[in-house]
Amino acid sequence: MSPLLHYLVINLLQIAFLLAFAPLLGGVLARLEEIIQGKHGPSIFQPYFDIWKLFGKDEVISEESSWVFRFAPLIHFVMPMFVVILIPALTAYPLFFAFAGDMIAVGFLFAASGFFVVLAAMDTGNVYGGIGASRTRMVGFLAEPVFMLVFFALSYVADSTIPYTVNASWAVSWAAMLQPAHLLVAVAFLMLLLADEGRLPVDNPAGKAETAMIGHSKNLEYSGTGAALMKWGGAMKFMALLIVFLNVVITPWGLATTTHWGDVFFAMPKVLGKMLLFLVVLAVIETTVAKLRLFRISEFLASALVIALFAMGVRVVGIG
């Protein structure tokens, strides 16, 4: 097999990895939280059953809705796949599409899918969809500058915005890992991840009251295949963000360094292991922290902004 084709196949393998394991993360996270809370919840494979069930159901679409409503689940489902071929999901060396887009492109891809989901939420005229959409935009606007600063800080360190290069620049040595800028960027990114994914303390993913929802009321109107795609796409988006966070920012190890197939396949359990560790941390955060009031979210994200500024400052002054 020629090297180019080989890289392309690994790219496809990354997409398969994302598709196959994304729902598992949600199931494991829910189970971990239930263990901490002393409950006996559903199995970790529940999200797969949910998605399977939804694919088998009829779809009901409001007469008032336009093409945007039908189109949004598709784009929400497809965008994480585009993202995952740009980032180091399994390999430490750049693959076929690695230089087709950088981390800014990753941000744009997620922004595009977020835009359509928000439009679709307002499309049906459901009141809660509109509330959820406007709140999501509020959090989004507040998170945007932090995203930018975190990306700038990351690319400043690596002199590049290509995620593979950033990964390589952290993975050089322990001294590179322990830089103050690195820790600060990791903290800011974690806060951003919580806000963007609608986890506590920004939004309660287990909440059932529509009036208190931020992001989760956007797909209330979906049913059948649309709902399945939204659910699966959301899970994949979470996993893609986790890959960026874990493989690029905080723990750039455990990836395949050779083109050998065994090495590439062996990277999967290692990456999943890192994710499991992070999910434990996330479960602890989610069970110990209370949800913030809506107007306190600006404080939460402003703190993230200042922490990202610290990271930049430490780099600019040249001490970290």
Binding site: A175, L178, P180, A181, E299, I307, L309, F310, I319
Partner: protein, 222 residues
Amino acid sequence: MTTALAINGLIAALFVLFSLAAIVTRQMLGTLYLFMAHAIALTASAIVIGIALDSPHLFWVAAITFSTKVIAVPLVLRWSAGSEIYERREVDQVLSIPVSILIAAGLALVAWIVAAPLVQVIPGRPFAVINLPSGLIALFYGAFTVAVRREAVAQLMGILIMESGAFFASIAIVNDLSVIAEIAAAVDVPVAALVIGLLIRSINRTTGSTRVGLLADLKEQR
């Protein structure tokens, strides 16, 4: 040495984070816990620098810091203002939290700019490069907390954070101060906590609260 510098850099980042968090938190108990975490970061930095520079004095600093700031100060505060800390939740402030955060960002930049020429003046102090600006940031944040919080307990935290900041910078610059001076400096901390704690206790007994911001108004004007 490189490893020690790296670990110290990480600790310095945590130190700055805890200083920021002490400004941002609204909860009284949270501020106290963050102050303890802050002091633990100072202890850790003293130990790392002590090992790297082979300076036993810094182990004394670490031991004294830990015993005063992590153990003694919370005990003193619990005794003198326990009900206020453990029962009341939110702290009054002059400025809203987002404004405070923005000012905090500005203060951090000022600290870095001020520290840059200072570091040039003291060559041969590898740890000062990171500890001096971090300590200055904590110093500024402590002063800022004192200014914007209308709460005696939180203001005491601000003073102690300032003190920790000064220590954080100085352990990287002077690492052979005699133990007597260390103890003298460190004993001041629980004494200050005790004096202010007694003050808080008497304010609390007289006015039923420790919101000293309310005391600025004259009684006749109300």
